[in-house]
């Protein structure tokens, strides 16, 4: 079964990158630009930049005004759980749950897309650095294991990535959300500006700023990518290339070197390991179309399949040396699953801005960085870590309750914009817990004969206590800023719904308690690097993709330098 019709040389590369999403694209670009021949293995099909069929369509151009029919929803019962991701405009980018099953010992929303670019096409684009408050948190509090790195190790790579991808934002000097290399910010609208001023006046521990978002806001540079057109249709793919994706940026850059090969429809089955050399030798692949197995060989392997599949591939890579999965001496592989908990906060309305409006649909909102547990004075009694707020102000539209009930008066009322409202949604850190885990079910194989993932993850006391504060502090700030009709809200927030799953192959100082070292190498198999969300030792409360990209660029640089020294 395991054969390649080609000679071994033809299936041998310097590096194999598993996955083409936000971190895999970066790995491929960095390695290819440094002269390595690179093979990307992508389990889904191709998406060329610009191949975004719904980008210019309106509600009346698609069936059902954009919504799926009940018949269509039958393929997406789990992907549906976000309430916003799957529509007639986007359904081709999300997996059908019927084809890609997983199991839930406890409720877990695993939301994903299988295609070149992965979720880099679909991400929220919010981009924040992690600080030493985050990198030292586990050590300071005696939680899980210490990160083997600190901010100074990553800071130059944050600079490098931000400048390459283009991040618009504002430097504010906040200790837990470090400043960076930003393009001009997307400004606050009138009501947000009012709110920011009020927060600054009334809370000396808090500030509000425009979201830092991976969009180009001034022309020039960035390999010809265009500036944001304020359409806010990012999730369909941006024909202007204004937000960062693998498709618009890193993959074309890697291709331009002439060193990149992309093999689509290729699921990584396992990493091949040589007991004698104690190194990985390549990757065994299942072709999704033919169901045949193939082997590809390389000097180094970057695993960037996203946190859950990355752990799945490593767990399924069994050998005499590693009967429980490649590099899994610690038993931590597949454990410490984290995400961000949210769907909680407050909304309110405000008077006095009725004659104000805006032009353009800003694909971004506001950010209130963490203000709990970042200093002695902000220490909370009943929870560790903290949360930030995202949200924004806008005017309601035709879907609001109208005073007029019928006829011309109703029409004229709804043609006008409604009241100004502002919402704040907290995004909270989840601690790493060993018993929040995924396991492979070998009794439930998928259609390619691979074991399926079973998730056993829950929020615990620390998260639940934090949530109470996330709700009440949001209302408190809206009230202080003069909002009325303030509504605290809390909706179901299953783990996974933040689409920030991470932690399944954590970094650490010791192979007995962690999977990866400070360079993202598997401790015991040094030519295997894991630089997606799996590597995270703690979650922080910020959106994590920027950190994945920075760690990937750093690890790729390390890998090439080690290859040159003949250490790998």
């Amino acid at each position: 079964m395991y054969f390649n019709s080609k000679g071994k040389e033809e299936v041998t590369y310097d590096a194999i990158v598993i996955g083409s999403g936000i971190s895999g694209g970066w790995a491929a670009k960095e390695l290819a630009e440094k002269g390595l021949s690179v093979l990307i293995l992508e389990r889904g099909g191709p998406v060329k930049h610009g191949d975004y069929p719904t980008a210019a369509l309106d509600t009346w151009d698609v069936p059902n005004r954009g919504r799926l029919t009940e018949e269509e929803w039958k393929d997406y019962p789990k992907q549906r759980r976000t309430g916003y991701t799957v529509s007639q405009f986007t359904k081709h980018f999300w997996v059908k749950d019927t084809e890609h099953p997983y199991h839930e010992t406890k409720p877990f929303d695993w939301i994903r897309g299988y295609h070149v670019g992965g979720r880099s096409l679909l991400w929220g684009r919010q981009s924040y650095r992690h600080s030493d408050i985050d990198f030292s948190a586990n050590a300071r509090e005696g939680v899980a294991v210490d990160w083997p790195i600190r901010y100074a190790d990553v800071a130059p790579w944050y600079d490098y990535v931000e400048e390459y991808i283009g991040v618009s934002g504002e430097n504010v000097g906040h200790p837990q959300t470090p400043d960076g290399k930003f393009m001009p910010k997307m400004p606050l609208n009138c009501v947000e500006d009012h709110m920011a001023t009020q927060i600054g006046k009334k809370f000396n521990d808090r500030l509000m700023m425009p979201g830092r978002v991976a969009h180009i806001t001034t022309p020039g540079g960035h390999n010809g990518r265009g500036t944001c057109q304020y359409r806010n249709r990012c999730i369909r793919g941006c024909p202007f290339g204004a937000y960062f994706s693998s498709n618009s940026s890193t993959i074309p850059a890697a291709e331009a070197t002439g060193n990149l090969t992309i093999r689509t429809h290729s699921i990584a089955h396992s990493i091949l390991y040589n007991d004698k050399t104690q190194k990985a030798t390549g990757v065994q692949v299942i072709d999704t179309e033919t169901k045949e197995s193939h082997e590809f060989f390389s000097k180094i392997v970057f695993v960037n399949a996203s946190a859950l599949p990355t752990a799945s591939i490593l767990l399924n890579s069994k050998s005499e040396r590693f009967p429980n999965g490649l590099g899994n001496d610690s038993g931590e592989l597949g454990h410490n699953v984290m995400d961000h908990h949210f769907h909680i906060g407050a909304r309110g309305q405000i008077d006095g801005f009725e004659d104000k409006y805006f032009k353009g649909r800003r694909p971004n909102g506001i950010f209130i960085p963490r203000f709990r547990n970042i200093s002695k004075g902000s220490k909370m009694k009943d929870f560790q870590r903290g949360y930030g707020y995202q949200g924004g102000a806008s005017r309601t539209s035709w879907y609001r309750p109208a005073e007029a009930k019928i006829g011309k008066a109703l029409k004229e009322e709804l043609i006008q914009p409604g009241a100004w409202g502002m919402g704040l949604t907290g995004f909270g850190e989840c601690l790493p817990y060993h018993d929040n885990k995924m396991v492979l079910r070998y009794d439930k194989l998928d259609k390619w004969g691979l074991p399926t993932i079973d998730l056993d993850v829950e929020w615990k006391e620390n998260e639940m206590n934090m949530r109470k504060d996330m709700k009440s502090s949001a209302a408190e700030m809206l009230e202080a800023a003069g909002f009325k009709n303030i509504n605290e809200y809390e909706d179901r927030s299953n783990p996974g719904n933040g689409i920030h799953e991470m932690g399944t192959a954590r970094m650490g100082k010791d192979s007995k308690t962690s999977v990866l070292n400070k360079w993202n190498q598997v401790h015991t198999v040094k030519n295997v690097y894991v630089t997606d969300g799996a590597c995270m030792t703690s979650a922080a409360n910020q959106n994590p993709s920027l950190t994945y990209m920075a760690l990937t660029a750093r690890a790729a640089n390390h890998a090439v330098s080690e290859l040159k020294k003949l250490n790998l």
């Binding site: 210019a56 309106d58 509600t59 009346w60 069936p63 059902n64 005004r65 954009g66 919504r67 029919t69 009940e70 929803w73 019962p77 549906r80 759980r81 309430g83 997307m186 400004p187 606050l188 609208n189 009138c190 947000e192 500006d193 944001c228 057109q229 304020y230 359409r231 806010n232 009725e354 004659d355 104000k356 409006y357 805006f358 032009k359 353009g360 649909r361 800003r362 005017r395 539209s397 035709w398 879907y399 609001r400 309750p401 109208a402 009930k405 019928i406 006829g407 011309k408 109703l410 029409k411 004229e412 709804l414 043609i415 006008q416 914009p417 409604g418 909706d491």
Partner: protein
């Protein structure tokens, strides 16, 4: 997630003063635009009546109304997503409206139609048929090409973001 839960969390349908119960009763749907009423899911008579109802709710003014925007056909397509019970109740509500108050709905003047529909609304209730029809009409109208591009301010590619301008510069709500 169950369908009703998804609807509750969706802002898309939560409009036009709909109660939670009404929202839960609505599911949208329209696979293709049937060109002839005889193909209508609700039947030709019901769709013809709906055309008059939606035009009463959102009439033609200086911009085209709900009938020109084919909101009655939109509602017919939505009805393909109803459960059997919802469909029976919806058709019964339409029959009731058709009957009118001694004078058939079709025979009423537009002022009489408004008054009559408001009398149904005044009866209240969580599944008030008028509130449901109004919600569907607003949704169908403002997501239609006519509603979005003629009644509202439509700007598919703004090209810039101006965070704080006078409302009078736009004059009405943005469609998108």
């Amino acid at each position: 997630m169950k369908r009703r839960e998804a609807l509750k969390t969706s802002a898309f349908l939560a409009g036009c003063g709909l109660s939670a119960g009404t929202i839960a009763a609505i599911v949208s749907g329209c696979q293709s635009e049937p060109s002839l009423y005889p193909d209508a899911h609700l039947g030709e008579d019901h769709v013809r009546l709906l055309g008059e109802i939606v035009e009463t709710i959102i009439p033609t003014t200086d911009t085209p109304g709900a009938k020109a925007a084919e909101v009655h056909l939109f509602i017919d397509q939505v009805s393909t997503q109803f459960t059997e019970d919802e469909l029976v109740a919806f058709k019964a509500a339409l029959d009731e409206i058709d009957k009118g108050n001694g004078k058939k709905f079709a025979k009423m003047s537009s002022e009489e139609r408004e008054e009559y529909l408001l009398s149904i609304e005044a009866k209240g209730g969580d599944k008030n048929p008028y509130n449901m029809l109004r919600g569907l009409t607003c949704q169908g109208y403002f997501t239609s090409e006519i509603g979005a591009t003629k009644a509202l301010a439509y700007d598919p590619i703004p090209g810039e973001y101006k965070p704080c301008i006078e409302l009078s510069e736009v004059g009405k709500a943005w469609a998108l």
